[in-house]
Every structure is written in structure tokens, then in C-alpha cells.
Amino acid sequence: MTDERRDEKREVADTSGDDAFLVVDDLTVRFPTEDGLLTAVSGLSYEVRMGETLGIVGESGSGKSVSSLAVLGLHDAKSSRISGSIRVGGTEVIGLSESRMRKLRGNAVSMIFQDALAALHPFYKIGGQLAEAYQVHHPNATKRDARRKAIEMLDRVGIPQPDRRVDDFPHQFSGGMRQRAMIAMGLINDPSLLIADEPTTALDVTVQAQILDLLQDLQREFNSAVIIITHDLGVIAEMADDVLVMYAGRAVEYGPCKEILTHPEMPYTWGLLSSVPEVGADTDARLIPIPGNPPSLLSPPPGCSFHPRCAHMDKVPGNLCSTELPELTPGSRGSGHLKRCHLADPDRVFEAEVLPEIAPELVEEN
């Protein structure tokens, strides 16, 4: 990592204000394995302000979950090597002692996990698990207080008859209700930052809509910062203010949500947009997959890690893509929109080549 690059990122962070609650700067997470050192996240920087939502998109293995687990300090120090800086409300998280981390975790920062059935303990009642989360951070609270708080939270997330359901076990809840209980547990201590890791992936569309609405309502009410991790661009489009697209452990595109979705400048983002059919799209729109599979993180390809799957390499002179890693730099559309790509005029390529295939109806409008 060169010094100029770090400075550049600082600059970017500075221009967007100092009041960010979470600042992740040059985060690198490595795991030593039998086959060598696995770089799960490298040189990742982002920030989230209060009341805002950051969406992180990427495929499995792109490092999106690993980076957010690092924010919560959930990586075992023995089996991982973390460098860089993560500041939560001004506190540096990396290297923080376990006892201080525990005060932060669940209190200032909390997490909603993807599989609510696996994340809730099957042996304890829902209410007991919620109350425990409350009592850990409120040592003076009585059992009765904690139970009352648990019922209040269940009511808040829309569980019917919360005073009765509080004594149910997780298996007595439906999928959507379990996810609501998870959200209730995440919010019971009024965290300033909520990380939702694929909160709706296992759910039906109607339940997904309920949960997304709930998250938005709660965010408005508590003015918390939210990170939503997903592979569903539709969820991102509805929820996020900013979007971070990750590929093979690196940020490949970062900017305001609307910008990224209407004027993406990185072929991987184009690929994501073109490989998902849409419920309202033209039936002449083609479904264009991204060829190949995500790369191994043990031996990532040289140069741009997306180049073995990139269909636009022919537009970059020489073999720059396979030899040199592009920097995360502002594109042609202002400093707020960063992309990691060698393409000189991605906007033109997108509008001339990609858009007519994936959204013919949008081209006619222009």
C-alpha cells in the first residue's frame, strides 16, 4: 500500500464531512490457512453517517461479511490478521481489548444475522434472549425491567400479542417473525450503528417487504446508521443512500446509490445489473451473465481481480488490466463516485453497449 494512496483516501473522507459515525480506513483482513495466507478484505475504506444507510453488494466470498464482522471485532485475533483502522464513534476498534469491545458490541454497534433460526438459541425463550442482551449492557436493570423492555421491543417490531409471544421458543415463530425478533434484539440497546447481514435473503418477497419497511421506520425513529449487506440490487435500490460494490475483497465502486445504479462505471457492476432479470423490465431485455466464477482469494489474479471475467478488457490499451491493479479513483461524474477500473470512458461504453441490451426501454427515453 503506497502512501499516496492513503492520502488520497483521506482526502475523499475529508470532503464528505467529519461527522461520520463509522470510519473504516484501509482495512485489510487476512486469514492464515494451510494453503497460504488468504486475503479476504484488502484496502477497504468507507464511512457511514448517522441516519444514513450504506449498502454493500457483492457475491459470496467478496469480503462483505468479513469486513462487517471486523467492525464488531468478531474475528479471533489468533486466526486472523487485521490491519488498518476502524473507528466507531471515534473509538478505534482494531486492537481494542475484549472487555472494552464487549461494552461496544450490542450497545453502540449491533448486528442482524442472515439466518435467524441459526442465530437464535433454540433452547432459550425469545424473551429470555432479548432480556439477556438488555441486561448485559444495563447491569442495574432488574429481571422485570428487562422483560418489560423485551416485550416493548417485540411490540415495536410488529409481533402480535408480544406479552404472550415473549415466552415462545424460536421454533414457534415463523421465518418472518424470527427475523423481527432478531431485529428487536439488535435494537434493544438503541445502537447507533446497525449492521444487517443479508437480513431478508431467506424470506419471501412479501415478508421481505415488511422487514425492509420496518428497518426504514426504525432507522427514521432512532436516527441510527445502518449498513445493509446483500447481493440483491433491488434491496439496495430501495434502502441505501450510498452503495459499496465489492469484488474479491476490494471495493470496486463506491458512491451515492442513485449514481451507482444509473451511471455505473465498473464492468462488474454492469454485470450485476445485467445478470438479474427485473419484474418490470422490457421482455426484449437480455439476461447477460458474468462469465466464469469468482476468483480464489488465496491466489487472486494479477492486476484487476475482475479481469478474467471482464468482457470490456478489449477497450483498454495493452494488457494493463492483467498487470496493474487500478486505483479506486473518482470517475468522470465527480469526486463522490469512485471506481476501480482502467476504462477511459466507462459512461459512454455503458450507454452505447450495455444499456441497449439490458434496458432497451431506457435508451428510447433518452
Binding site: 457475491e59 418477497v205 412479501t206 415488511q210 433491488g234 435500490a237 423490465a281 469468482p294 450495455v354
Partner: protein, 428 residues
Amino acid sequence: MSDVNVDKADASQGQPAPGEGEETAVVDQQVASFAELAEQGHTATQLDVTAPPVLEVENLKMYFPVKSSGVVRRTIGHVQAVDGISFQVPKGGSLGLVGESGCGKSTTGRLITRLYNPTAGTMRFGEHDLAQLSNRQMKPLRKHVQMIFQDPYTSLNPRHTVGAIVGAPLAIHKVVPKKEILPKVQELLRVVGLNPEHYNRYPNEFSGGQRQRIGIARALTLNPQLLVADEPVSALDVSIQAQVINLLQDLQKEFGIAFLFIAHDLAVVRHFCPEVAVMYLGKIVEIADRESLYGHAHHPYTQALLSAVPDVKQAAIGGRRERIRLEGDVPSPINPPSGCRFRTRCSLAQEICAKVEPPLLQIGPRHKVACHFAGELGNHPNTPVTANLLGVDNQGSPAGGATPTQVPVGPGYEDEWYDVKAQKMVRA
């Protein structure tokens, strides 16, 4: 078979075609330019209205007994997983089956492949009724009806090689002599875009998308006429989903396979299936061609489902569609609501909905809906459109003097249908 438009999806795993073996040594496999790639991508499948049905399902029911606990396990009720559904799958075409989890869509798929024995109903496939056949009579027909499963991690035996998995149907049905199995397996692997050299590898050596391709190869082995695809892409990463959907479209075109495509992702179904049936709690509530269903849905449940799908382009342009919130959860199929099963969560529900079950009424050339207040979103009628037909008054009580009209309940579409706006029968 070799001219199948195999996408270069798994190029990184080595070029499949033999004779090009030297290319596998090249690490930097050149990806096709975007124009070529786009050429391989498919647009949505189109409807062929002239295709005869390959499968006709009529009044199919599946009730699972619920047993009491204790020493004497009496049957104390039934889960009405599938309760009287009728539909057709056209030859070489595809019908999509969508709905929330627990609506009976997977059960339907398993009934058609006869993994379950139906409680009642008929499933006409050619000259046979699949519902009536014994297991022994069913065996030769299994060649023609195959299945692709949802989870590529659990549907492949981890202790069998790919060659054994894909070749097993050939050995069981004794289609080809033993020594010809391997060449056939390799051909199939090539068709689904895998390296045929990999026949002696184990499933754990493949990624999710490649495993799903193995599952597809296994389903293709016996040249089926009908494939039941139960959530074939929902366990895959987004970029891999498109690869598999394109592959299935290629195979459908090449071999003329009919698909019953079961999925909960409405956008994927819209792309793959020219005709779609929406299920709720064991019943089909709306079935129509793509344009009618996605453009002019008449059932409030379909409308709610469609409004719940997040739409990238809508949101990107700025407009967020108004969502219809469905309150609560799906009721228990052991004791479903009387009348219309959706009424407990429906904003339009009135007295008639609890009293009379709405028939699956044909309201357009290729559009059927089961709702007393069928109408486009925002234009639902105030009085039940079905009252006259069923011979009841607007509250659902039997009306004196009125005679119920016989509503056709067959699996196909009639030339004459009931126009909900004009409230009378019209002909094409």
C-alpha cells in the same frame, strides 16, 4: 448435440471442447467481447399458443395426515398442501409456479414426479394418468419426467463421482450398454458447459453453479419431455444465476423440453416462463400468460406479491412504487379459512368471501383468476363479479330464483370467457 450454444461460463475451469486441450494451459483465458457475450444472453422466452399440452393436471389434491402424539397415533387432521389445482404445461414450453413458502408449489412438483402419491386428481401425461400408476408402471415413464432440485449441495451424493451421478439414470433404465455410458456422460457434461474430463471428480470439487450444472446434466440424461425445476437458481450467486437460466433456455430450445418452473423469484419466473400460475395456500389464485399476469394482475394477492418485489430501475430513476402491505402470516393449511383462503389478509374481503369459495374463472383469452372482486389494481369492483354466475346475492347467500352457471374447471383455456367489466360471457 455438440452445436448447443454452450456459454463460455466456466471457461476459467478449462475449455470443454476436446481438441482444444492445449488451451487449458493458458491461464489468461480471453473472455468473449461484450457483444459476443450479449449475443449468448437470452431475452425472455416467448409463448407458443399452438403447442399442445404435454401435461394436463386436473383437480390435483395432496393431503398429508397429521398424527396425534402418544402410543396410538390417530390421524387428527390433514395438511391440505395442494387442494384441487388444474393447469397445463405446453409441449416445449414452460409454466411458472410462484407463491410464498408453504403454498404447495414444491409439493406440486413432487406430485408430478410422483415422489408423493396424490390424494386425488388426475395428471395426464401422453396417454397415461400419472396419478393412477403403480410404482412399477411408473418406472418407464420416469425417463420422460425428470427433476432439478433447489440445493446443489444436498442433491448430489458426496461419495459418488460426477460420472456415477450423471450416468446412474442410464444404468438404471438400461438405455445404453455399460461401456457406452462414459462417452454419453462426457457428452452431457459438455452440453451443460462442464469439462468432460472431470467425470471422475467428486461434487465437493465444484462450485455451486457447476454443481447445479451437474444436477441439470443428470436430469437431461434420459432425454425427458418434461423437467420439473424446483427453485433451480435460488441457491446460486447472482452472477451464476443468469448463467444457469441461459443454459436452461438453450437446452429448452435445443431439445424441446417442457418445464414446470417452480420459484419464488417473480422476476426470474417472468423471464423464463411465458405462462405463470400464482399459488396461495394450496390453490391456484391466478394463472395467465406473462403480459396479463405481470401487466394486468386481477387478484389482490398477485398484486401484493408484485408490489413487494424491489425494482432496481424504478428505484434508480427515483420513483418508488407504493407497496401493498400484507399483514400477518399465511394461515395454517391444516385448518384453512372458509371460502376464499386469502380473505384473512385481503383488503377487499367482504362477507361473500367467507361464505363462497371463488371459482378459478377465465376472464381473458389466457387469463384465469379466483377472486370475487377481480379487477386491476385500484379498479376492483365494489360488488362481487361472480355473484350472478354462482347464483348468490352480493353477501354470498343463495339468491332465490337465480341458477348457478357452470364454470368450466378444466386445466386449459376455453374460447369463451367471462368479461369482468361487462359482467357477461364473451367469445374470442
